[in-house]
């Protein structure tokens, strides 16, 4: 082992104060919308809106926009301006350009007549408003005089405290405290009563301001801080005030967790009761706020600090962070452990820090030219009273846990990189880049050659060798089981833990587990980004450190904490997730360590409630102006304005809303615009719901309201009925006119038919007449022909008869001879016959 290449000689060590922690913070300036960077006092309206009095007058902030008031109102603008909220009324007092003014705001500003001459006013004018017998009483401290009056009175009353100066007036839980240069008084029934405090135990009785919580008085004096309960005074510490300047503004607040903050023309400070010290509140580890005018704790437990350089806000409930600026040897925290006596060891790449109480002892590790130094793991050997530090190329450093001034011994070889230490049954196992060793008699004894062991972990007697590319090997002292994965990233393992029966692995590919002899993805939680650290805490929660924050998994919900939540950095080192004996979770990152205290209630942070501030309909009228929120169809659009008065991180508030739970899904929106317009809504009943959440955390409670769009008139029963009636009437009219037309047509047709019939009848008559005439003519002709025939026959038969008669006569003659007469008769008859025939022929020709 070549000691020359090793580190180990303690060069120096020095101490810092653990209180130099810093909280997630934000600085507001004019660029954020503030009217002025000079802020003098802070208050919060019961609605949640934050109020400030600035060099430009009062202003309020609804987590989205800053609202100012016109100069013409002559509101206070001076450094002595104060602002208080009493019974939802905002009060301001202070100097404006010309005079001292007191005004209150209940939707508009109301000035209160004051008669104090400017010259009467000292550098500080304590001001408050108390509620006495239902009427606001205004109190002003003018040097030794306490002036007071109600809003109904025109004259001021005063009480004098000769020889004293009134430093502050605080009204807390019904008690009005008057802090003076010589003791604390209570104002009650228009009298001042000195509160009995044993000032003998205090540097002096000059009380700058006071606050009270859980029957404990918190007193900020000049220059001390003390607490009083049950009649006992407890001096805590010197307050660290600037002795060379007069205190003009002072405040002290106690947050919901009991943390005490104060400021008195100093940086705002948090008190460490255990160490009896204070620490400035830092902005990203830096002192930015140097002369606070007010410190205020809002109802979300955000700490607001005002000063002439802007407005500052601290999220105390989130992680408490430490880095180099706040006392660590360097920023990156690579390994964490806690010794049996409670001391916490934080490993930096080339240093480590011993935290005891409020003191950080930083140990620099002297090193030679060795290329890679990095504290990769720290383990305490309680049986031997030793602490082992694996420092990669620098080898294994072994300290006595009672003496960190120099290593007890070191173990190092060329080319060996010590990566991890694990102690099982007093056996100290050490992993290196080429195998598993056991420390025996202050020497490394090779047990198992294996390249690339990155970390060691043991569960009972089983020792897990976590490698950088070959999965894991499980060694039980006898045999070795090897688990790998076809997925190269899953075979690169950083850390292991057992969670609810599953052996889970932090790998480059995400969360893996052991299944059927192989490393596979863990079914319970799909995380496929690099995971370096895993910790199962005492509450059976799983902390998972990756390369962009730390996840917290309770078996159901997964929540990511990152720098937006106040986490120091983004990358969590593999042996830097640790739960201390108090249950606090230490998270080592590349930019410091973040501590999550067990008393931090996560749910309190994420339970964001949305307030619907205004709902107006399409014509500009408020929805409330409509009975039962029922809007006429002609007014079928609404604009919903809403706000979420959360100041934890205004830029990360997200909303989601839906107009009707039965139809649509949620629509998500940011905090950029806080109104939604729904136009051309159909008739029906709507339920508007809206929720908010911080970043991607769980959604908060639902704020909802129901409204109804009436049916359009053309869908109302009466209109439909009217239409039916009109339609029926129209049909009837149409039918009637049609009937009339038909009747007219019928009449016309009838007339036509009649005319035609008459014509036809006439024609028929004419025809009949013609037929009749013709028939008669024919009959006559026939008759004539007949008669003619008969006549002709007669005329024919006449001569013929005579001839025949002649022949009869001739036949009857015995001689058969014809006499002349008969012959003559026959000749004449023949001639006659011939003439008749010619005559008939002529007649026929004529016919």
């Amino acid at each position: 082992m070549r000691f020359t290449h090793l580190i180990f000689l303690l060069l120096f060590s020095y101490c810092a104060d653990l209180n130099a922690q810093y909280f997630p913070s934000r600085q507001y300036m004019t660029g954020d919308g503030m009217p002025s960077n000079s802020v003098f006092d802070i208050a919060q309206h019961p609605s949640g809106v934050m109020w400030f009095v600035t060099r430009s007058g009062p202003v309020y902030y609804d987590a989205k926009e800053w609202t100012t008031f016109p100069d013409s109102l002559n509101l206070p603008t001076s450094a002595i301006s104060r602002i208080v909220v009493q019974d939802s009324v905002v009060w301001v007092a202070g100097l404006n350009e010309t005079a001292f003014t007191i005004q209150y705001y209940d939707g508009r500003w109301h000035p209160i007549t004051v008669s104090f001459h400017k010259a009467m006013l000292s550098q500080r004018v304590p001001f408050n408003v108390i509620k006495s017998e239902g009427t606001p009483t205004i109190l002003l401290g003018l040097d030794s005089e306490l002036h007071f009056r109600t809003t109904e009175q025109n004259e001021w009353s005063k009480l004098n405290l000769p020889g004293l100066t009134i430093n502050d007036i605080q009204y807390i839980n019904g008690t009005c405290f008057i802090a003076t240069t010589n003791g604390l008084y209570e104002f009650e029934d228009h009298t001042l009563k000195k509160i009995s405090i044993d000032y003998q135990d205090l540097p002096n009785a000059n009380i700058l301001t006071v606050n009270s919580r859980k029957k404990t008085l918190h007193l900020l004096g000049y220059d001390w801080y003390a607490e009083s309960s049950n009649g006992n005074i407890n001096f805590v510490m010197d307050a660290g005030l600037n002795p060379s300047s007069r205190v003009t503004q002072s405040s002290i607040v106690i947050d919901q967790k009991g943390n005490v903050f104060y400021g008195a023309n100093t940086p705002a400070r948090i008190i460490n009761h255990q160490a009896k010290t204070w620490q400035n509140l830092l902005i990203k580890g830096e002192n930015v706020n140097i002369g606070s005018t007010s410190v205020f704790c809002d109802r979300e437990n955000n700490i607001w600090v005002s000063d002439s350089r802007g407005l500052f806000k601290y999220n105390v409930l989130q992680f408490i962070n430490y880095n180099k600026s706040s006392g660590l040897a360097s920023d990156e925290v690579t390994a964490i452990t806690q010794l049996d006596d409670g001391r916490v060891l934080l490993g930096n790449p080339a240093q480590f820090n011993i935290i005891k109480g409020n003191v950080i002892t930083k140990i620099d590790l002297k090193k030679d030219e060795s290329p890679v130094y990095r504290v990769l793991d720290i383990e305490e050997d309680r049986a031997r009273g030793l602490v082992y530090i694996a420092e990669n190329d620098a080898g294994l450093l072994v300290y006595r846990n009672t003496d960190f001034t120099k290593p007890y011994y070191t173990l190092s070889n060329d080319g060996i990189r010590v990566t991890s230490i694990e102690i099982i049954n007093d056996k100290v196992y050490v992993s290196t880049n080429n195998g598993l060793y056991e420390v025996v008699d202050q020497k490394l004894q090779l047990i198992l050659p294996q390249k690339g062991i990155r970390n060691l972990k043991h569960f009972g007697k089983r020792l897990l060798l976590l490698t950088n590319s070959n999965g894991i090997l499980i060694y039980d002292g006898m045999k070795i089981l090897k688990y790998t994965s076809q997925n190269f990233d899953l075979s690169s393992v950083y850390q292991a833990a057992i969670y609810r029966g599953d052996t889970i692995l932090a790998t480059r590919g995400g969360i893996g587990t052991l299944k059927n002899g192989r490393i596979v993805y863990w079914d319970a939680l799909s995380l496929k980004t690099p995971i370096y650290g895993i910790l199962v805490d005492s509450k059976d929660r799983l902390w998972i450190g990756g390369d962009h924050g730390v996840y917290l998994y309770d078996g159901i919900k997964l929540r990511l904490f990152d720098v937006d939540d106040g986490l120091s950095g983004t990358e969590i080192n593999r042996n830097a997730l640790f739960e201390d004996i108090d249950g606090s979770i230490w998270i080592g990152t590349e930019k410091g360590v973040s501590v999550f205290r067990e008393n931090m209630e996560i749910d309190e942070l994420i339970n964001l409630k949305v307030e619907v501030t205004e709902v107006i309909t399409r014509n500009g009228a408020s929805l409330e102006s409509f009975p039962k929120n029922t809007v006429p169809y002609s007014n079928n659009g609404i604009q919903v304005s809403y706000q979420c008065l959360s100041y934890v991180d205004e830029d990360e508030i997200n909303f989601r809303y839906r107009i009707d739970s039965t139809r649509g899904g949620w629509i998500e929106t940011s905090n950029a615009r806080n109104d939604i317009v729904f136009s051309n809504l159909g008739y029906g009943t709507y339920q508007f719901e809206i929720q908010a959440r911080m970043r991607d955390e769980a959604w908060g409670p639902t704020t909802q309201f129901i409204f109804r769009i009436e049916k359009p008139f053309y869908l109302r029963w009466w209109f439909i009925l009217l239409n039916i009636v009109l339609l029926v009437a129209l049909v009837r009219v149409v039918f009637y006119f049609r009937y009339l037309i038909l009747i007219r047509q019928q009449q016309k047709l009838r007339s036509e038919v009649k005319k035609r019939t008459e014509e036809i009848t006439k024609l028929n008559a004419e025809l009949e007449e013609k037929v009749k005439l013709r028939t008669k003519e024919l009959e006559d002709k026939n008759l004539r022909l007949e008669e003619s025939a008969y006549v002709n026959a007669h005329y024919l038969r006449g001569p013929l008869s005579k001839i025949m008669s002649a022949l009869i006569v001739a036949e009857s003659q015995e001689d058969r001879l014809l006499d002349k007469d008969i012959i003559q008769i026959m000749k004449e008859s023949v001639k006659e016959l011939d003439a008749v025939i010619f005559s008939i022929n002529d007649i026929l020709k004529e016919e």
Binding site: E786, E787, Y790, A793, H794, R797, G798, L800, S801, K802, M804, S805, A806, I808, V809, S812, D821, I822, I825, E828, S829
Partner: protein, 130 residues
């Protein structure tokens, strides 16, 4: 039986002549009177100058045709109209036969030429009637 007196009324004397010869040839022993003008024959009948048993009457005659004669003859006193009147005509007009049948004074209709058989038939009719 006494001699049958027959009055022949026909405007054609040759017809009357031939009919007289035929009646005579029929051996019915008839006395034959000829007349060519019906109106004068009627006058003689009316004043009793003529009292034939049979009048053979032609239809188509000038001045007074056969029908006019029959009509007038009907109007004669019963004593002047004891003769049987029969039409002897060359007409084949059915209406003439119908008129003859409907006339109360005409007892028969015979078409010309008068034959011996028809004379004997007439005689037989007359005999039966008497």
């Amino acid at each position: 039986m006494a001699n049958l007196r027959v009055l022949l009324i026909d405007d054609d004397p040759s017809v009357n002549f031939l009919n007289k010869l035929i009646i005579e040839k029929s051996d019915i022993g008839a006395e034959i009177i000829e007349h060519t003008e019906a109106d004068k024959a009627l006058d003689q009948l009316a004043n009793g100058q003529l009292a034939p048993d049979l009048i053979l009457l032609d239809i188509n005659m000038p001045v007074m045709n056969g029908w006019q004669f029959a009509e007038s003859y009907e109007k004669l006193p019963e004593t002047s109209r004891s003769s049987k009147v029969m039409i002897l005509s060359s007409s084949i007009n059915p209406s003439d036969k119908e008129l003859a049948e409907n006339s109360p004074v005409i007892n028969g209709f015979f078409s010309k030429p008068l034959t011996i058989e028809s004379v004997q038939q007439i005689n037989q009719i007359l005999t039966i009637d008497n």
